[in-house]
Symmetry: C2
Amino acid sequence: MKISTRFSDSIHILAFINICQGIIPLTSNNIASSIETSPVVVRRLMSALNKAGLINTVHGAADPALAKSPENISLYDVFLAIEGDAHLFTIDERTNPQCIVGGNIQETLDGFYQQAETAAKAKLARISLQDVIDTIRVKQALKDAEKERRN
Amino acid sequence: MKISTRFSDSIHILAFINICQGIIPLTSNNIASSIETSPVVVRRLMSALNKAGLINTVHGAADPALAKSPENISLYDVFLAIEGDAHLFTIDERTNPQCIVGGNIQETLDGFYQQAETAAKAKLARISLQDVIDTIRVKQALKDAEKERRN
DNA sequence: GCTAATTGTAATTTATAAAGTTACATGATG
DNA sequence: CATCATGTAACTTTATAAATTACAATTAGC
């Protein structure tokens, strides 16, 4: 249980590529500065995003680009790229098979957890990177307007 | 990071109390044997379940009991008792506030994650401990029948 | 009441997964 | 060809949960 910040950071990377393309060079260093992490962590995540076909990267060149339009990249696509078939809930695999509870709890919970997990993933599948980008821009515009108002 | 099995183990404990009551003494030791963990871990979880009003325990006596009927205990009740308001997805809190992405990503993801998380928790809220117990019994009956058939 | 068994909890140690770091081979670009 | 960037492997650090140890508080059988 508990999905690591890799998922969040990956969405961050994709949004950054879209929003900052042409404004600043998209080096792993610059991206890492925005996430406040190390460039290697960024490159690791981008490697996975590349393999999953969400971005196109060029070995040696600081020129990554989204492989699809942001409307066609869902948060579940990102989750799959980074976490694969990881589960939101963890089943204790080491229980006593001799006991009626210990011997059947895994299969039982697996079914129920699946329901909850699928519901969550279905929601993620309906949220696009474009939604994320739009929301970021709205929030930023709000901040800018607020700042302007104060002058 | 180490993934928690507390939620699963807590459901295990509740099912065990219901199914094994009157059959074997419900000591933390016996429960721990079924989960294959230590009695202290079991007592810790039971302490939380007790505080949340899901079970009644007696200090010094090996006699825990469900505080409500299994139909009226949902998996979300258990989740709340053990994990509180813990999130299924983790937002990276340390990003560069100067960057348009780093400065707005938390609030943005929080909203979207909330949607997914609520969907999952709503499913959990609709699954009762009775459902879990019923499923365990069905699976066990299947195994028994299978075993019988082989003789 | 006394003894044995049990819970409840704190403190400590161990295990594990992710984050971060170092290093370097490979490839791009002016 | 010099510089800069990526892609990855190997290693270290850090965070969190599980397991262990210890013991006070409580119950229950005799």
